[in-house]
């Protein structure tokens, strides 16, 4: 999870977001940094050590689609 006070994390974010959006003003980048902190908090909650066989949910694998 991103530590909002970690300057290296902020620097990495600025570089990464600039690769996608090259023309962002500072205020816009600041707003996105705040949102990214929230999004990372939720992503950090996802399990990372599931067994190999734990497959994803898939819209075509629901039981009612098996017939």
């Amino acid at each position: 999870m991103t530590d909002p006070t970690d300057p290296r994390a902020r620097e990495a974010f600025d570089l990464a977001i600039a690769r996608v959006f090259s023309d962002l003003p500072d205020a816009e980048r600041e707003a996105l940094w705040e949102c990214w902190g929230h999004l990372q908090r939720w992503a950090a909650r996802l399990p990372r050590e599931l067994p190999f066989e734990a497959e994803p949910a898939h819209i075509f694998s629901a039981p009612e689609r098996q017939a």
Binding site: L32, E34, C35, L39, L46, A57, R65
Partner: protein, 462 residues
């Protein structure tokens, strides 16, 4: 300003008996829109001439004995993400401000074939995510119970318009609660059907694997009538399922004996943000459902935060994929709330998305197991009534888990019904989650509860 008919069912019965005409119903709604919507902002487009012409046609057909069914001659409106042939469909966004579709969404077409009359297009949060926003081409909708308060979203105009009697029914969309939350905050019934039950073809997508189309109306019975018209498979929607479509209205009535409700107290009772009035209303509703014959037991599920984590990551990853070509070059044209939520989605990784879908499978199985033991699960739709619109935090969806996301993650149907009013006069909502493709039982539970309580007799004073 009084509304002559509160519900679709009442108006439909009056139409069948010739006590009212479609023209009178449409004129009544249009007059209320003219008088009230300058304050409520629930419509982004009204179609008075088209609606009056369609009402005259419906009147002629009904008088000639060619009544198509219970929705023939009923005025409705659509969230402005449903495509309407020849009628501007904006998603409440500058990006689609001049978009005039060539064809109808499947749900638009099915409602028209059932004989409904389209009054206009309704406000939404931009592309069904992020609001209320004050930097879009149209103002945000206001809550008819108190226009200083939030409607909930994203089907904001749908909630406001039904509560204010500016239409008798609407279709909303629900990716993380966008039907149920405005239904709760505006005091309506709102149904998120099972994933795959209603076609989403021709409806602006937000998140392919979480999006659902569904009805919002004053009562569960009205939702049953609307669902009947729009449910069923559609080759245009790859998620659409060939499950049998029962007669929803026929399933209503009777007592609740033999039904079992699992209360998911862990989702809300220990939440410090739980409004005491919502807690008391939920407890009273549980007692009421028990008195109606349902067996009540407690159920434990994973924390709501787990469901929310899966929902947020999947939603933002899929939404970013949809908007990527546009937002990379035209981000300034989106509203601040939408773009600030969406743009960081560029930095989510492939493994983030896959892990979210793996967690999703676990959570869907867990909820499915609970629903093998119980007919429905119960918890509040929202832990608090509608806040003042100025107090809504732009990142609220990111800041804490919502109680509406679990049913999007699992794909089960979920119904919100009004569970009473706060001392300040704001509605509260009760949520029931049902078995896959068993919307009929959810609607039966909602209808029984509504008939046993006085909440459907009260309307906003406007």
């Amino acid at each position: 300003m009084s509304a002559p008919y509160r519900t679709i069912a009442e108006a439909s019965a009056a139409l069948a008996k010739g006590q009212v005409s479609p023209v009178e119903l449409v004129d009544g709604c249009l007059q209320r829109i003219e008088g009230l919507d300058p304050t409520l902002h629930s419509y982004v487009l009204t179609l008075p001439e088209q609606a009056r012409a369609a009402a005259k046609t419906a009147e002629t057909e009904i008088r000639a004995g060619r009544r198509r069914g219970p929705l023939h001659g009923i005025p409705i409106a659509l969230k402005d993400i449903y495509e309407t042939a020849g009628i501007r469909t904006t998603g409440h966004s500058r990006i689609k401000l001049d978009h005039v579709p060539k064809t109808d969404a499947t749900a638009t077409r099915k409602l028209a074939e059932a004989g409904t009359i389209l009054l206009g297009k309704l406000a939404t949060h931009e592309f069904a995510m992020g609001g209320p926003s004050f930097d879009l081409p149209f103002p945000p909708a206001r809550n008819p119970w108190n226009p200083k308060h939030f409607t909930g979203g994203s089907s904001s105009g749908s909630g406001a318009a039904v509560a204010a009697g500016l239409t008798l029914g609407t279709l909303g969309s629900d990716t993380g609660g966008s039907i149920r939350l405005p239904a709760s905050h505006c005091g309506l019934a709102g149904l998120k059907p099972s994933y795959g039950r209603v076609s989403r073809a021709g409806v602006f997508p937000l998140s392919f694997s979480l999006d659902n189309c569904g009805p919002m109306a004053w009562t569960s019975r009205d939702c049953a009538l609307l669902l009947q018209a729009i449910a069923g498979p559609d080759p245009r929607d790859p998620a659409s399922v060939r499950a049998p479509v029962p007669d929803y209205a026929a399933a209503l009535g009777g007592d609740l004996k033999g039904l079992s409700i699992g209360v998911v107290r862990g989702f809300y009772e220990s939440d410090p943000g739980l409004d005491p009035e919502v807690g008391a209303a939920t407890a009273a509703a549980i007692r009421q459902l028990g008195e109606l014959g349902a067996r009540i037991e407690d159920v434990a599920l994973s924390p709501a935060d787990d469901y929310h984590a899966a929902c947020v990551v999947i939603m933002i990853a899929e939404a970013f994929a949809i908007h990527e070509p546009t937002i990379k070059t035209r981000w300034r044209e989106y509203g601040a709330i939408f773009r600030h939520r969406l743009m960081p989605g560029a930095l989510l990784s492939g493994p983030d998305y896959v892990q979210a879908t793996r967690l999703r499978r676990h959570l869907a199985l867990e909820m499915g197991c609970a629903l093998e033991r119980h007919t429905a699960l119960l918890f509040p739709t929202s832990i608090a009534p509608a806040p003042p619109i100025e107090a809504v935090r732009p990142l609220a969806f990111y800041e804490r888990a919502s109680l509406t996301t679990p049913a999007n993650v699992s794909g089960h149907p979920a119904l919100s019904v009004c569970s009473g009013y706060t001392k300040a006069g704001l509605p509260m909502g009760l949520q029931l989650v049902g078995r896959r493709f068993d919307e009929a039982t959810l609607l039966k539970l909602g209808d029984a509860y509504e008939r046993a309580t006085p909440w459907r007799q009260r309307r906003p004073e406007l």
